[in-house]
Structures are given as structure tokens and as C-alpha cells.
Amino acid sequence: MSLTPEQRGKLTLVTGVIGADTHIVGNRILSMALEKEGYKVVALGALTPAEDFIKAAIETAADAILVSSLYGQGELDCRGFRDMCIEAGLEDITLYVGGNLVVGKQSWNDVEARYREMGFNRAFPPGTRTPDVVDMLDQDLKGRAGGAAA
């Protein structure tokens, strides 16, 4: 089911940490890992406004945006993210979000539902490791990668 590095090379991912959030470590490790697996990665780094994600996605014709939010205020920062994408003509872009997505230790099912409702295709709980992200991306983006899956 997983893509070859060549197939992944045709796919562009935008990564970054949204809002006033400085937690760069996990995002940087994730970006490095995705690049190593073959994906084209546009890493915006920490403290990235929602608009910058969308701008970068348009500029690079990205296939997916991977939003990190760790500091708890993601629920405020991510409001309307999907709408902004649609406005910008990115109807079909795949949206992932991951990290510590709310303030406090809350039931993951609730949190996931909230982000799904906001229009994210997938939300990832604290503790997500990079191989699992690669698996999901391969699965969700294989339609766009062209060629048969390996």
C-alpha cells in the first residue's frame, strides 16, 4: 500500500506550526522525516499564520497541508482554515492537523471530531510518530501520485 520514493517525489507537502506557537521540534523532525521518505516538503517553521500556509500551498501547488499545533490554542487558530482554503481555490487539498490540539487532557474522540468538523481530513493525537504519518499520507495521496502503488 505504501508509495515508492519516486511516487512521493511528485507530491508536495506544506508543513508549519500555526498561530503564535513556537513548538518547532516535532514539526521539524516530522518535516525532515517526510523529506527523507521522498516527499517534497515546504517547511514554514514555527509561528506561522494561517494565511501563510495557504499562500505557500498555492505557490507550490501543494497536495497537502500539515498543520502542527502544540500549545493548546489550535482550536482558536484553526477556525475557518478549510474555508480559507476553499476561498483560495484549494477545494481538494488534503488537510492534516496534529499535536496537542486543545487546552488540557481531553478525550481524543471529542477532539478529533471537533477538528474533523472544522474540515481537516485527519487529526493526529499527541505522541504520533512519523512512520504512521507517512503511512496515512501514502494512503490518502496515492490517487494524486500517479503510477501504481508499490
Binding site: I24, L47, G72, Q73, V103, G104, Q106, P126
Partner: protein, 499 residues
């Protein structure tokens, strides 16, 4: 251009010199005008308010006493998005947590001076019936209202506001009766921001430190404190201590007398004790070398600042050991976390429990010290041999001005920080854990650490690579970021099940 003296918006040439009184008055006026609650602030009235508080609510005094008596005080973190939630939290930390120092963490919008967003966050929190902000929006509430928080507790209160833009928050905090304030120009700018220049960060904290010194002139000794934990991600003691020294020199330049040094724990009993010892010793060495011989610099040890495990029971060990390490290391206070750490901001109850576990661990540490242990002495010596060449180079690069030297050193990577989000740090230095659990430096980037010292680090890391069957490369650093968040199955499996 970074690295060169320049005029900032306040019309001052960038340097470590004390901000002149008249210019500072103007800076204050401009600052307070930025948000309505700034108008509530009157320095004399605020100083009188502090002076009227009992000594045991004044952190400057409390830190000095704790140091004299050989105590290790406990302090949590904690902030919620509304006054009501925050009051409940602080009362709980004081009463149920037995906290010796009670915090108010501000939210991230406040830290970034996005007070409109913070105002919205207050409303959203009220609507949702839970905190939507990751801290207390202190500027929005203003000093008058915020005094209710200080009055709700019977301990000294400290502001925790990780930002390089503390000008208004510190005005509000001090005026509200907080007698402690955490943050510093180099450390926070390097670890909490992306675009803010180190100059801007340093200047902002010079403002804050100058403000603290104003209170000092009025007879109020506030406790200023430096966050040497930086990105919290495997910071080797020498790098933390370098930032302690730099920021302490900058604060002393503005007239601060009571300046705490914070160090994130490496979670190694010997290395942490050595770090605590050397942070104070080396900071005093440089303070005195630059003519500051009356600065009180107690050390605060922080519970593990990197990624935590996802199992409460595992977390309990980090919490308890955090108390052990701080107390045996001789820290004057310990800043605590809780078993919720990996998931989110803790509930008041979980936060209070983390405090109590830590406090009990502090008690159990009795009066043990590692001073006479040869391994401790070796580590102290290693730290000094890493810090002095870099610090001397920084001072040299600034022609004796630590502010200017720091800018130039950061630009050149002579002063560097691991995992920094800042565009103004090279972030080439790479730490990793060795086979005995010490944090070592895998790659020192451009930092002028002596070759034989780096050889020592590399030898130790090669041992680990061999043990773990890993190549001797950056993967050592990445796996060290995850290490303590791994589950027990991975960390310490039952060894022989397969045999």
C-alpha cells in the same frame, strides 16, 4: 544590521549600558499607552502596595531566605483564560499543592502582544465554560483586577510569560503585586520566537530589568529570573549556563540585584548537580569580572522540559525524580510539572498532585550533596571548560559589551542553541544522550569548545552508538528527543523473554 550598534525605535544605541532615566521615562509612557489598562499603572502606588505585603509574599525576600536556609522551594506553572478560573487555580496550587511560589502563566496571544485575540479568547472561554487560552491574559484584565489573584494566595506570586515582548505584561504584573518575573532577552528570543531579532529581544528585557531596578530604587526588591531551559529540548548544561551568564550580565547592567537562574533538568543526578553548582559559580565569576559583586543569583531547577511519556505512572517517576534532582543538586527552588504533561495543560488537581509528589521527594532528599564525588567534580570541570572559552569569545566579540558581543556571537554561531525556532540562531549545535545518560554535544557547530572537550563528548556518544547499534550521526540527536517519551517496553524491556 545585526551585529552592529544601531538605534532602536526608542532612539537608543544598542548596548549593554543602563538605559538613561529620561529615555526610560519616555519608553514607559509610550509603552503604557498601548492598551487601556496601561493607564492604571502608577509606579509609586505599586511600590507602596508591594511594601505593604508581608515579607513571605515577596519573592525577592523569599528566595534569599530559602537560599540562606538551604531550602528547595516548589513552584508549578499555571494559567487559565479567565480571572475566575485563574483564581481557583492559584488557590488550589497554594492550598492543595502547598506551592511555595504561586505562578501566573500568561496565554500565548498575550505573549505575542495580540491583545485583541486574547480578548476574544476570554469571551470564547466564558462561552465554552473551559479555558480556550493556554494562560491568563494579564494585560487585558489589567493590574487592578489582577491584584485579586495576588490577594487570593498567601505566597509570593510570579509571572511566567515566555516571550521576547514583555514590556507591557511586566508593567501590569509588577503593578498587580507579582514580585517575581521570569524571562530574559537572549534565552526567550532564541527559543520562543522566529523573526524577532536578538537585539529587539534584549532591548525589551532591558526595559523590564530597568523597570525592576526602578522598584529596587523604591525599596522593593523584586525577583527577576532567567529561563535557561531554552527550547527545553536536550539543552546541555554549558549552553544553558552561557545564556544564564549573558542574561545576568545584561540584567545587572540595568541595575537588577536579585536574579534567578533556571536550568532544565538533564535527568542525570550527577550532571544536574554539576549544572546547578556551575551555573551559580560561573555566573558569579563573570558578574564579578564585570564589576557586579552584589548580585544574588539563586538557581532554580526545572522538571524535565523535553517530551514526556504518555503513561501517568511513568510520569510520576519524572515528577518525583525532578524533586530529588533539584534538592540534591542544591537548587533553591524547583519548577514542577505533572502526569498530564504529554497531553495538555494540567487540571488544578493534577498540577497540585505534581507539586506534592515533588515536595515529598524534596523532603526525602534530606541533606545529601554530591560535592565530594569524583564524578561530580569531573562534570563541573567539563562544564567550566565548555563555558569559559565561549563566554570569553563573546565578550571579546563585543569589545567588552556583552549585548553587542551576544548579537555578533549568535550571528556567527559562536553562541548557539539546539532546536531553536529563531531565524537569528544558527541552531547547528546538536546534543544527544550518551550511554550513561549524560547529555553530550554531538555537534558544536561554530561554538569554540576546545577540541579535547569535544573528543570527550564524542567518545561518550560513540559508546552509545555502539550500544544501541546506531550509526554515529544526527539520528543520535533525534532519538534523544524522543527517548524519555518512549514507553517502558522500549526503554527497559524484560530482557530475556526471547531466549
Amino acid at each position: 544590521m545585526a551585529g552592529h550598534p544601531q538605534l532602536d525605535p526608542d532612539g537608543l544605541p544598542f548596548s549593554a549600558d543602563r538605559i538613561p532615566d529620561d529615555i526610560f521615562d519616555e519608553m514607559r509612557a509610550r509603552n503604557l499607552a498601548r492598551w487601556p489598562t496601561g493607564a492604571e499603572i502608577d509606579l509609586d502606588e505599586a511600590a507602596a502596595y508591594h511594601l505593604a505585603m508581608p515579607k513571605h509574599k515577596q519573592l525577592g525576600w523569599v528566595m534569599r531566605r530559602a537560599d540562606e536556609e538551604g531550602r528547595c522551594l516548589t513552584q508549578p506553572r499555571g494559567g487559565f483564560g479567565t480571572l475566575e478560573l485563574q483564581k481557583e487555580l492559584m488557590t488550589c496550587l497554594d492550598k492543595d499543592g502547598h506551592a511555595d511560589i504561586v505562578p501566573t502563566t500568561t496565554d500565548s496571544y498575550t505573549r505575542n502582544e495580540q491583545w485583541e485575540n486574547a480578548a476574544n479568547g476570554i469571551e470564547e472561554s466564558k462561552k465554552a465554560g473551559r479555558s480556550m487560552l493556554n494562560g491568563y491574559p494579564m494585560v487585558n484584565y489589567g493590574p487592578k483586577v489582577t491584584r485579586q489573584l495576588v490577594e487570593a494566595i498567601d505566597k509570593p506570586a510570579i509571572v511566567l510569560s515566555g516571550t521576547s515582548m514583555p514590556r507591557l505584561t511586566s508593567e501590569v504584573g509588577f503593578a498587580a503585586g507579582y514580585s517575581g518575573y521570569l524571562g530574559s532577552g537572549l534565552a526567550y528570543t532564541a527559543s520562543y520566537t522566529k523573526e524577532v531579532t536578538i537585539e529587539q529581544g534584549i532591548r525589551n528585557y532591558q526595559y523590564l530589568d530597568r523597570l525592576a531596578a526602578r522598584y529596587q530604587d523604591l525599596g522593593v526588591e523584586l525577583h527577576r529570573r532567567q529561563p535557561g531551559f531554552l527550547t527545553g529540548t536536550n539543552i546541555p548544561p554549558s549552553i544553558a549556563i552561557l545564556t544564564c551568564i549573558i542574561d545576568a550580565l545584561l540584567a545587572a547592567g540595568q541595575g537588577v540585584k536579585n536574579y534567578g537562574l533556571e536550568l532544565g533538568q538533564t535527568l542525570h543526578l550527577v550532571q544536574d548537580a554539576a549544572a546547578i553548582r556551575m551555573a551559580r559559580e560561573l555566573t558569579q565569576e563573570y558578574l564579578q569580572r564585570l564589576g557586579h559583586d552584589d548580585i544574588f543569583t539563586p538557581v532554580t531547577s526545572l522538571h524535565w522540559m523535553g517530551a514526556w511519556p504518555y503513561d501517568d505512572a511513568q510520569c510520576e517517576a519524572l515528577v518525583a525524580y525532578g524533586g530529588t534532582l533539584a534538592a540534591i543538586g542544591g537548587a533553591v527552588s524547583v519548577t514542577t510539572k505533572s502526569s498530564h504533561e504529554a497531553f495538555g495543560i494540567p487540571t488544578p488537581e493534577a498540577n497540585a498532585a505534581g507539586l506534592r509528589t515533588t515536595r515529598m521527594a524534596v523532603y526525602l532528599a534530606r541533606h545529601i550533596r554530591l560535592d565530594d564525588m569524583p564524578e561530580f567534580k569531573t562534570e563541573c570541570n567539563m562544564i567550566a571548560r565548555e563555558v569559559r572559552p565561549v563566554m570569553d569569545k563573546i565578550l571579546e566579540m563585543g569589545d567588552g559589551d556583552v549585548a553587542i558581543g551576544t548579537i555578533r556571537a549568535c550571528e556567527a554561531g559562536v553562541m548557539d542553541i539546539p532546536w531553536s525556532p529563531s531565524n537569528h540562531m544558527k541552531s547547528r549545535v546538536m546534543p544527544a544522550r550518551d550511554a550513561d545518560g549524560y547529555l553530550r554535544i554531538f555537534d558544536c557547530g561554530e561554538m569554540p569548545i576546545p577540541k579535547d572537550v569535544m573528543d570527550y563528548h564524542h567518545d561518550k556518544l560513540r559508546e552509545r552508538a555502539a550500544r544501541d547499534n546506531l550509526p554515529f550521526d544526527h539520528e543520535l540527536a533525534v532519538s534523544s528527543v524522543y527517548e524519555l517519551s518512549e514507553n517502558l517496553e522500549t526503554l527497559i524491556p524484560f530482557p530475556w523473554a526471547a531466549e
